[in-house]
């Protein structure tokens, strides 16, 4: 199997005339955690949303270039198919408030009208919730609404929901910025577990988080990919002055 799972080739993204992601070339290896960091408005979230084609849901948003998933261009695929392969978790925990915890986990099947036998559903729910270390906490209240859970639990529920679809890549858009420190560290621990089975791409404002959880880090600035490399290297000896200024907090 090729070690590169996602690869962007001259990827550009626009909001109307606003060029927000400029010529990004990046190779993302399988079963790694990739942190994408940079100041606000540097295009990191846009790039992330480009990977599973969520970018184009925004009116006026367009994109050029290629995003390769297993050497197939996702820009040529149907977005719905892409999103089944590449799951996404958002900044604010957003379980479906009208569904129970159980139904939230299998929402991807249930709401897409995919019928599964009960035993299979049970298996997926237990498996996914175990993966996100939530099974023990919620196994007795699966019929309760997802919104009864705490913020951190909700976020893990959302991760379980993405994991249930067995994607290859999981995208995280600032997954812990709405969580308290304890929930944050629970979710961060989770990343180390999840990378055994998935490739994780995490956009984060929090440099320390990028340092803690990732194997490789990409630094975006003004829509450009300034530096991309091993996290250790990046945080001890960055090769670009802009990266150094950013991670040392000397940015002006």
């Amino acid at each position: 199997m090729d070690s590169t799972i996602v690869k962007s080739v001259n990827y550009n993204a626009y909001f109307g005339d606003n060029h927000v992601v400029k010529n990004v070339n990046i190779d993302i290896p399988r079963n790694n955690v990739i942190a994408v960091m940079g100041p606000s408005g540097c295009g990191k979230t846009t790039f992330l949303r480009g990977i599973n084609r969520m970018h184009e849901l925004i009116p006026n948003a367009t994109a050029k270039g290629q995003i390769m998933l297993n050497n197939e261009d996702v820009m040529e695929m149907h977005p719905i198919f892409v999103r089944l392969k590449i799951g996404m978790v958002f900044q604010r925990p957003n379980p479906f408030p009208n569904l129970s915890i159980y139904d939230n986990v299998i929402a991807g099947y249930k709401l897409n009208g995919i019928k599964l036998p009960k035993a299979e559903k049970d298996r997926i729910v237990e498996h996914s919730l175990t993966r996100v270390a939530l099974w023990k906490e919620v196994k007795d209240s699966l019929t309760k609404k997802g919104s009864f859970l705490s913020g951190g639990q909700q976020q893990r529920l959302c991760i379980a929901r993405a994991v249930a679809m067995e994607p290859e890549v999981l995208l995280f858009d600032e997954p812990t910025s709405a969580l308290d420190p304890i929930s944050t560290s629970t979710v961060e621990e989770l990343f180390h577990e999840l990378k055994k089975n998935y490739t994780l791409i995490i956009v984060t404002h929090n440099m320390q988080q990028a340092a803690r959880v990732s194997d490789k880090t990409a630094f975006f600035y003004m829509g450009e990919l300034v530096e991309y490399g091993e996290t250790k290297q990046m945080f001890t000896n960055p090769s670009d002055l802009r990266t150094q200024n950013y991670i040392t907090g000397r940015f002006s």
Binding site: E189, Q208, A211, R212, V213, T231, K232, F235, T236
Partner: protein, 224 residues
Amino acid sequence: MTQLENEIQAVKTEVISMWTLVESQLQKTRSAMLHFDRDLAREVVLKEKRVNAFELKLDRDCENIFALYCPVAIDLRFLLAVLKINNNLERIGDIAEGIAKYIIEPLEDFDHSVFEKTQLIKMFDDSISILADTRIAFEKEDTILARSIFKRDEVLDAINRSAIEKVGECIKDDMNVMSDALYVLSIIRKLERVGDQAKNIAEEIIFFVEAKVLKHQKESSGKN
């Protein structure tokens, strides 16, 4: 276990392997000296490179952990202590190498009577056991054991203080052992440094476990 705990555990294991290596270096130097085994002494000199490699790796690991995990409280103290212990251990490695070189240089075996008169063997054994006990204190985070190191270092200091006199007596008794006696004096001087390094390490252990700084404090025992 959090990722930081994993990393710290890995560092601890690494420090202990380095420690064991340094101990075995001293041990080998001791037996090379006793049996005038130059090959063993050469091996010690060669293996010093591995001690240095350990030092570099630990430095880099600590740097990475500082950069990536921003450790605080006991984790921070542990890593700061490790940086210094690392340094101390490397010095002890250097000392072992230095002594090993003394064994390679002379053409003939040492006169063992000088060893006995100057308590060199006892000093050697003491330094090795002090070092081993410091390691155990580090492994178990045992500050009582760490504090006992200070007392035992004084024994080494005492031997060191009496060394000039004893070496002088040896030379007076028999001019033929002059060069041996001078080598022995140098070795004693070096072994005294091992005790000092072990004491510094003990201070670092107490620092990281109890957050108490013992450095540069006048101790009741009189020695600085």
